[in-house]
């Protein structure tokens, strides 16, 4: 039986605007998504801001009631049996919020241990283990207001694991932390999965999803637009290749011409320090290098290279096509 079962899950918000003449409109944040997560799996929800990732997680951890559809976690319905779900899941979100700044890290963990009914005789040992796991041993008596972002995030992880949850929900846990901290975080998450914890992770960092997730669902506009292993997504979206051209100056006028070239699936531009990076995605076996360079005639060019599509290319194609 899957640990997480999501069937046609929907969530609408009522947004209000205006002061004198108030009007309301319904915003569909999640539009009927379905997926399953198996025991011990690390499942990723990948999508841009506002895609519905956090809303989905909040429905699964019982903080939001769905507008339609159903979801079960460990066999318990998130609407009818919220306390059973809450007992068994952990929730960690990214950013600096979610901690009591005026308390020490240790006091934060003690308080949440009490909230999650960790037996009093086990609390000290459990907190000690978690401080060791997240690398905060020796800093636990300092007030959280003095912690760095990375330390706060690690404390969040420790808080989410206090009651040994069977399922851990991580909502963009590495947002805003430095690369070293993010790498340590990924190692910690990988360790938890090795130990049998089922993890549902939301992120918009491709490398994080690629490195960690067993399976992924790409969500955009409240709908799942693709799902599978990272490898399947890369292959399924585009079996072709990617041409990258470094352009000094504006290539905007040439983009339309490049898009119209035969075999070109998508064109995007990334701003770099002094240059733009033109990314041209093509079908398999189609070489458009010469034609693209002809379109860019008269513009100063730098590096020109072709490569295999990455998960990020797959993601951009999926999200922009949705």
């Amino acid at each position: 039986m899957p640990v997480i079962e999501v069937d046609d899950l929907q969530r609408r918000y009522r947004a209000k605007t205006g002061i004198r003449r108030r009007s309301t409109r319904d915003v569909e944040a999640v539009r009927g998504i379905s997926f399953d997560v198996e025991h011990g799996e690390l499942f990723g929800l990948l999508g841009p801001n506002g895609a519905g990732k956090t809303t989905t997680i909040k429905m699964l951890i019982t903080l939001l009631l769905p507008s339609g559809g159903s979801a079960k976690v460990l066999g318990f319905d998130v609407v009818r049996e919220p306390r059973e779900v809450r007992r068994r899941v952990g929730y960690v979100f990214g950013g600096e919020r979610g901690l009591y700044d005026r308390l020490s890290g240790l006091d934060n963990l003690r308080y949440f241990a009490e909230l999650y009914a960790v037996p009093a005789r086990e609390q000290k040992q459990r907190i000690g283990e978690l401080l060791e796991l997240v690398g905060l041993s020796g800093r636990e008596t300092e007030r959280v207001e003095g912690y760095s972002r990375g330390m706060r995030q690690r404390l969040h992880i420790a808080r989410g694991l206090l009651h040994k949850p069977e399922v851990l929900f991580l909502d963009e846990p590495s947002i805003g932390i430095d690369p070293v901290g993010a790498r340590e975080l990924r190692q910690t998450v990988a360790l938890l999965v090795e130990q049998g914890t089922t993890v549902l992770l939301t992120t918009h960092y491709m490398f994080e999803a690629d490195e960690l997730c067993d399976r992924l669902a790409v969500i955009a506009g409240g709908r799942i637009v693709a799902s599978g292993t990272p490898g399947e997504l890369k292959q399924g979206v585009s079996a072709g290749q990617v041409l990258e051209v470094e352009v000094f100056g504006s290539a905007d006028h040439a983009i339309k011409a490049i898009e119209d070239l035969r075999g070109v699936d998508a064109v995007s531009v990334e701003e770099r320090d002094q240059a733009q990076l033109l990314i041209v995605r093509t079908g398999a076996g189609i070489d458009v290098t010469a034609a693209v360079l002809a379109c860019l005639d008269g513009i100063s060019l730098g590096r020109v290279a072709t490569r295999e599509p990455s998960l990020e290319d797959a993601y951009v194609e999926l999200v922009s096509g949705s």
Partner: protein, 256 residues
Amino acid sequence: MGTLRLLGTGWWFHLKIHSRSAFDGVLGIIYPMFFATSIFFIYGQSADESGLVAAAIGASAMGVWSAVSTSAATSLQRQRSQGTLELLVAAPTPFPLLVAPITLSMATIGLYSFVATLLWGRFAFGIRISLEQPLVFVVACIATSLAIGLMGFLLAVAAVRYRSAWALGTALEMPVWLICGFVVPLALLPDWLLPVAWVLPPTWGVAAVKEAALGGSAWPDIALCLAIAGVYAAIGAVLSHRLVDSARANATLSLS
């Protein structure tokens, strides 16, 4: 035992949180002094010693109520903005057991108001307070603070569903001073207002404190104060479950 431990732990950690705010701390010291000074100047014109003692007790209760009423709902709003309100709701523990310690910790800080006001009256205004029943006086002060804390609990749970409910506590601050007889004897209130005073636990709590200080039977008033506060707590507990469900339906647990 587990419930008591949870309440005690929550109370202690929230007491730590509230007592570590320099801003709140300064206000907590200044407010009771301000209330007491105003009251002593007003009632100082009278030569009636017992009237001054009653006024000092009323000013003390004003401090406790102000510490709780304005902070109870704003505290939940603060938890919402710092992202901890969602974590409280996401915990498997019954929600009322997580909110009640928050307002009780505020009432504990408000207890300082009792001591500060009486000392301020003694040393700044020379008001001699000889307590007829010191032990009962202490019990009455604690009971009054507990009752005010539980009233604050009822205000706080409203903030779980309604983001602007913090304004309710502020709006009720001064009316309760008057209606509960903190600064004006109940006998001076219009008759139609008396039933409102009777259903507010601080009315009986302050009456008990005055009885204990000036001589009289304080225990019936203490019992009434605690009984009515218990009803408030029960209403708050039932309401909190409904409001949390409504907040889950209307997505008001977080700011985003």
